[in-house]
């Protein structure tokens, strides 16, 4: 799972709903690295994560994995990433084991029980989704990370709804993932122990409000 290639972004500029979210943003992430995105609401943390996942295309600039732009081979990029968004994708009528088996199966992996144990939901493995609490649903969504190996983890505020113990489980999983050569990009509002990780403050790349030839002239 360790791949020497760098995960890089150059000169990124992103537009959402006609509004400039950030410009001239660069980042670099090597194997084993961890990038924590911080910044006020609306500064583009989720947008940047969706850009990295390939759901969004930047108006300018490129994101590359080992020098190869994402647009070249989107399928390969999707095969190497896990994305955890705000929604937990839990079906009310399926049990935790079935949900996890489905998502792991999509990636041809089978470590379901280990993943359930990693996030302490092996005890409720056979409970249908409709009975799960928010924290349990979130832990089930995070369990997908452990169920199928993928070098790049993109976590959008993973700690929302988690109690102290679960946050520790997440930190453990991230540490194990990074030790194995994987890399993580996450956005968070609470401080998460990510030893040796870098912080990217998106406020530094906010659009400049100059009026003349600035961001939104003569539209």
């Amino acid at each position: 799972m360790t791949s020497p290639q760098l995960f890089t972004g150059q000169d990124l500029l992103c537009l959402r709903g006609g509004r400039l979210v950030f410009q001239d943003l660069d980042f670099q992430l090597a194997a084993g690295g961890c990038l924590t995105l911080v910044g006020p609401n609306g500064s583009g943390k989720s947008t940047l994560l969706r850009l990295m996942a390939g759901l969004l295309k930047p108006l300018r600039g490129t994101i590359a994995w080992g020098g190869v732009a994402l647009g070249q081979d989107p399928e390969a990029h999707r095969a190497r990433l896990h994305y955890v968004g705000h929604l937990d994708a839990v079906k009310a009528s399926f049990t935790c084991r079935e949900i996890l088996a489905f998502w792991a199966g999509l990636r041809g992996a089978g470590g379901v029980d280990a993943a359930l144990a990693a996030f302490a939901i092996d005890t409720i493995a056979d409970v249908p989704g409709r009975f799960l609490s928010a924290g349990q649903r979130r832990r089930l969504s995070l369990a997908r990370l452990a169920a199928a190996p993928a070098p790049l983890w993109l976590l959008d505020e993973p700690t929302v709804g988690l109690d102290r113990a679960s946050v520790a489980l997440l930190e453990g999983a991230i540490a194990r993932h990074r030790a194995g050569g994987g890399r993580v990009v996450l956005s968070t509002h609470i401080d998460l122990a990510t030893p040796g990780g870098e912080v990217l403050d998106l406020a530094a790349f906010a659009p400049v409000e100059d009026d003349q030839d600035g961001a939104e002239d003569a539209a």
């Binding site: 996942a53 390939g54 759901l55 969004l56 399928e75 999707r78 095969a79 990433l81 994305y83 968004g85 705000h86 929604l87 937990d88 994708a89 839990v90 079906k91 009528s93 399926f94 489905f102 998502w103 199966g105 999509l106 990636r107």
Partner: protein, 218 residues
């Protein structure tokens, strides 16, 4: 892709609401016609093909709105778009699941209802054959509309308006095939055209659906 189809089938079996709703609508819609048009056999036979096809078309449309909605709201669709499975694969799997859930039951029930509408018994084989070609088309074209209206405000009204003009060729050729069968002519040309449209839709519809799904997640 098969895994996604099986998941959808299991999902529907457990929830069960969508499948039966479409089927019940089809049955009720067809049964109501004699009360409106009168029981004379020759009228009923004359309008049987049109009634059956239009009821099938509306039944497919009824269950179409929920096609992506469930997965879109709980985030599964986003994860599916980020899985190694290409978006077109997700589209085909969803359409196949929809066809198996709503299309196939229609095929089974249609001959019985056709007898209700005094359709001659020897035409039932042709009816099932025509519906076998038409119902996947209805699922494919309807799915394009469902994907386009993902996240739209009042998609309940919007979806039929988008999809009905595109359903017209399917309705025309299928009804023409059945009419030809009724009047003893060969339904071959109509069914061949219907088959051609099905092949075209099998290739083009997933492209449009995939583009619409990606647009919904931008």
């Amino acid at each position: 892709m098969l895994r996604l189809i099986l998941r959808d089938l299991r999902l529907v079996l457990r929830q069960g609401s969508d499948a039966t709703a479409a089927l019940m609508f089809f049955v009720l819609c067809v049964v109501l016609f004699p009360f409106g048009v009168g029981p004379e056999p020759n009228i009923l036979t004359r309008i049987a093909p049109g009634v059956l096809l239009i009821a099938a078309l509306l039944a497919a449309l009824l269950s179409m709105e929920r096609l992506f909605q469930g997965d879109f709201e709980d985030g599964s669709l986003e994860l599916l778009l980020l899985s190694p499975l290409p978006a077109e694969g997700v589209a085909i799997a969803k359409v196949a699941a929809h066809w198996l859930v709503t299309g196939v039951p229609l095929l089974i029930v249609a001959p019985l209802l056709a007898l209700l509408l005094r359709m001659p018994a020897d035409q039932l084989g042709l009816l099932v054959g025509t519906l076998a070609l038409a119902t996947p088309l209805l699922s494919l074209i309807g799915a394009v509309g469902a994907a386009l209206t993902l996240g739209a405000r009042r998609s309940g009204v919007l979806l039929p308006l988008l999809v009905l003009p595109l359903y017209i060729p399917v309705l025309i050729f299928a009804a023409a095939g059945l009419d030809a069968g009724l009047s003893g002519l060969s339904p071959r040309p109509h069914l061949l055209l219907l088959g051609g449209m099905l092949c075209g839709a099998l290739v083009l519809a997933p492209l449009a659906i995939a583009a619409a799904l990606r647009a919904a997640h931008e």
